[in-house]
């Protein structure tokens, strides 16, 4: 079945089983591999993308459910790696292996879109669904506070 949605600003039509999770449509059908597979059960956050501006776990989101909607993946977070969270992540040198970081960045960007100056408690709440096995959590926390500053300065 053909399903059309907007991906990172462009129209996308895919012809797949409508039950297929968005994650696998992005990765396997479209070859957009920035969004990662970690658990397949909404337990780890590696697959986080934005649908109509909100963070969702693409591993449990059937592609049928996003017909007509707007999807942003890590590749579309900014054109030139300048989104405040990306800048802050670079300043803090957050990633180790890096595998979880697409999901961390998408979750953090969504948090900042809703909460301009998140507290540590806000960060715990918004980010506890994103596992990092390399243990970059304290750097993630610092980078989110820093991204809020960058964003505030820009606004």
């Amino acid at each position: 079945m053909a399903i059309t949605f907007t991906l990172n600003g462009g129209k996308q039509t895919v012809d797949v089983n409508p039950q297929t999770p968005l994650l696998w449509v992005l990765r396997d059908t479209l070859g957009m591999t920035g969004t990662k597979f970690g658990c397949g059960m909404a337990l780890c956050g590696a697959c986080t993308v934005h649908v109509n501006g909100s963070a969702v776990r693409s591993c449990i989101t059937p592609v049928s459910g996003i017909a007509g909607k707007t999807v942003t993946s890590i590749e579309g977070l900014s054109a030139d790696t300048t989104h405040p969270v990306q800048q802050a992540w670079i300043e803090e040198d957050v990633p180790q292996c890096g595998y979880c970081q697409s999901g961390q960045l998408m979750a953090a960007a969504s948090l900042l879109a809703k909460t301009a100056k998140p507290t540590d408690a806000d960060i715990d709440e918004a980010m506890r669904g994103n596992i990092c096995r390399c243990g970059t959590y304290s750097q993630i926390r610092r980078a989110i506070h820093r991204a809020a500053e960058i964003k505030g300065a820009k606004a």
Binding site: N17, R27, D28, G98, I123, C132, G135
Partner: protein, 705 residues
């Protein structure tokens, strides 16, 4: 910074062989651990390379794989330091697998900096000397007059300057000098500095290619149904229902199970759910965790064990000790669970095989593929991609073998094999479960005089029969304390669960056992845990120094109100680490508030990466100490995903303070330095808080109640 990390380009080998631009190579020493076990090969040819393009770009060929430990950056620092190039011009590429050029390629045992420290600096220094030679010839001056300045050869007398890029071609045909002197560490400008990681940018914009991100034209997607019981085999299978699932292309049997091939991974996963397989489960089907624990206990009771260490006469000293303490400690199997599950992409043709893999063992992967396909190793091309974590798991090459087996059934078609999280957790090669019975004695003044440790656990690193597997006892027989009578012995107990290296290997369980038991001896003798250790470290100035540092920085003995402290030490991977955990236990609820760590890893290459790695190990240790355990029932792993095997999350993160104690010793590793002392530091802090000794991991809420 315009740095990128890319995979070997198609013409990489050509530029390596034709030498366009400057190339310098030197042999790297091999991993001592691998050599010690007689598994390594000594490289016959140069194996580390620098390429300087006419445009001044500097490309370092990284022979080690990157799993987050920072090798891409820190190895580049070693090269850049002596080459004296402009850091902003540095790019890196992963080397192709080529034992003739590079020797053995693999990352394990926190070896990269330790083994590359001297050779890579020599490579950089040789290249710099060749650029100076080339400039001396062009200017027709004595090379002794010339200097370099961040990417230029300069003649101080005339003020003339040559860009490295303008010299690289001429330099490339000059002989490689030997014995070029290395810089005095006081002059280092890159080594010892927290230069930014070279791989960050691509890891925040989705461009970094991990193993699972390999995209090969015409690729199909596979998952594999494996017997849930270790060692079991396919008895029979019926693929009718699987093939009826939309998007499923085919079903094939391979040695490890039955593969379902689909037009995408999810279709293949749906097909696997519908697949009907009868398994011949084999003998492990009767194994469970309680039985394994009993097996270990029986072995300790019934078997004398192979002696790993004997100093003095421990049994005799125990008998005459003023006070005696006995305790049994246990640790469970652990899964590695890197964020990126195992995977591999492969294509097999009549005369070649190409692999895209996230692997800690590049050469091993290539050799496995050669064996399966009957091709020569040179006909197998293995592309090294980023690893989404490794922690030892990716030293195994089972996932590479599986992908090649599947690809072999469909010559010419590239196949990406993806392990689900459940596959990854239930078919891991685990950190061995282990069991130890300690006895210790203190004299009338309360100082330890005797220690015995009787260990039982599986072995994956076996040497000769009857010999002790060092990974089974390291952390106990390596204790540096001056206890006059010590005996450590080991019984190999194999319940049939596959095991392998897990971040920090034997120290992960044994340092918990030993450092918690030392605390028991301190309590038995009425001694302060730091004072007791300090007094017994007369022969270990480096351990004593980190202990003093951590005691100072943690404000040992004076924790904030309501909190309690525990201390533990380890000396592994050439480094010395001391840790203090600060915890509270409130109505049976444990909270780890703060972890203070002091580490001496000798010469420092990149303090920021060291700090990252120490924090990383602490988080990994916290997950294993407080959360996850792999348990077995009916020969199967009972956990499957992060809901049943929990790991630490951001809201449970303690404050971590890392203090690097710099010394001018040869660099030690850091990736595995901080995992071992975490569990005993926490357990000892819990004792301080509650008076309870926790002798098995993970620490469970019911143990605190």
């Amino acid at each position: 910074m315009s740095t990128t990390v890319v995979n070997p380009s198609a013409n990489r080998r050509d530029f390596l062989r034709t030498g366009l631009g400057l190339l310098v190579g030197l042999a790297l020493p091999e991993s001592s651990r691998v050599l010690a076990q007689g598994r390594g090969t000594v490289p016959a040819k140069p194996n580390a390379y620098i390429h300087i393009g006419a445009d001044d770009s500097v490309t370092f060929i990284i022979t080690k794989a990157e799993m987050g430990q920072g090798t891409v950056t820190s190895l580049s620092q070693l090269l850049a330091e002596e080459l004296d190039c402009d850091w902003k011009k540095v790019r890196t590429e992963f080397a192709p697998v080529d034992p003739a050029l590079y020797g053995m390629q693999g990352v394990f045992g926190s070896q990269s900096i330790r083994t590359c420290w001297t050779p890579l600096r020599q490579a950089g220094a040789s290249a710099r000397a060749m650029l100076i030679d080339a400039a001396a010839q062009k200017w027709n001056v004595d090379k002794a007059q010339l200097r370099t300045d961040t990417g230029f050869v300069v003649n101080p007398a005339s003020g003339a300057r040559f860009r490295y890029g303008s010299l690289s071609e001429a330099a490339s045909v000059l002989p490689v000098p030997s014995g070029v002197p290395l810089k005095d560490p006081k002059q280092f400008k890159y080594i010892g500095k927290s230069v930014k990681r070279l791989d960050t940018r691509d890891k925040v914009n989705g461009k970094a290619k991990f193993g699972l991100d390999a995209v090969v034209p015409g690729m199909v997607f596979a998952v594999l149904a494996r017997c849930p019981v270790f060692g079991g085999k396919v008895a029979s299978f019926d693929a009718t229902k699987a093939k009826a699932v939309p998007g499923v292309k085919s079903v094939v049997q391979v040695p490890n199970g039955v593969a379902v091939i689909g037009e995408n991974t999810w279709a293949a996963m749906q097909g696997r759910k519908a697949l009907e397989v009868k398994w011949d489960e084999g003998p492990v089907a009767s194994v469970n965790s309680a039985g394994i624990s009993k097996m270990f206990a029986d072995y300790v009771q019934q078997q004398p064990g192979a002696v790993a260490k004997k100093t003095g006469d421990a049994e005799h000293a125990l008998a005459s000790a003023a006070k005696k303490v006995d305790a049994v400690y246990e640790a469970p199997f652990q899964s590695h669970s890197p964020m990126e599950p195992m995977n591999c992409t492969a294509v097999v043709r009549a005369d070649s095989c190409e692999i895209w893999a996230p692997t800690q063992m590049q050469a091993g992967g290539r050799n496995a593929a050669a064996q399966i396909t009957g091709l020569k190793p040179e006909q197998v091309k293995l592309n090294t991609l980023f690893m989404g974590g490794g922690f030892g798991r990716r030293g195994g090459v089972d996932y590479i073998s599986e992908a090649v087996e599947i690809a072999k059934t469909m010559p010419g078609t590239p196949v990406k094999l993806t392990w689900s999280r459940e596959d990854d957790m239930q078919h891991d090669l685990y950190r061995p479960a282990s069991y130890v019975k300690f006895s210790g004695g203190v004299d009338a003044e309360g100082w330890p005089v005797a220690l015995t440790a009787k260990v039982a656990c599986p072995s994956f690193f076996g040497g000769r029969p009857g010999a002790v597997d060092s990974t089974a006892v390291e952390g106990i027989h390596t204790l540096e304390y001056t206890i006059p009578n010590i005996q450590v012995d080991w019984r190999k107990a194999d319940p049939g669960i596959p095991t392998t290296f897990w971040r920090a290997v034997g120290y992960t369980q044994n340092t918990f056992f030993a450092e918690a038991f030392i605390d028991e001896l301190a309590a038995a003798g009425g001694k302060d845990p730091v004072e007791l250790r300090r007094r017994m470290l007369g022969n270990s100035p480096r351990l004593r120094a980190v202990l003093d540092k951590v005691a100072e920085k943690s404000n040992w003995g004076k924790p904030p109100a309501g909190r309690h402290q525990g201390v533990a030490l380890v000396n592994n991977i050439g480094s010395f680490t001391a840790m203090v955990a600060e915890v509270s236990v409130d109505k049976g609820k444990l909270k780890v508030h703060r972890v203070v760590c002091a580490v001496d890893c000798g010469h420092i290459v990149n303090p920021a990466i060291i700090t990252q790695q120490i924090e990383s190990g602490i988080v990994y240790g916290l997950s294993a100490s407080l959360k996850g355990a792999i348990t077995i029932d009916k020969g199967r792993v009972q956990q499957g995903n992060f809901n049943t095997y929990e790991v630490l999350r951001i809201d449970e993160m303690p404050q971590i303070d890392v203090h690097i104690v710099e010394t001018d010793n040869h660099p030690g590793g850091v990736g595995e330095a901080s995992v071992p002392p975490l569990a005993p530091a926490v357990a000892n802090a819990i004792f301080a808080a509650t008076g309870k000794r926790l002798r098995r991991l993970p620490i469970r809420p019911e143990d605190l109640a």
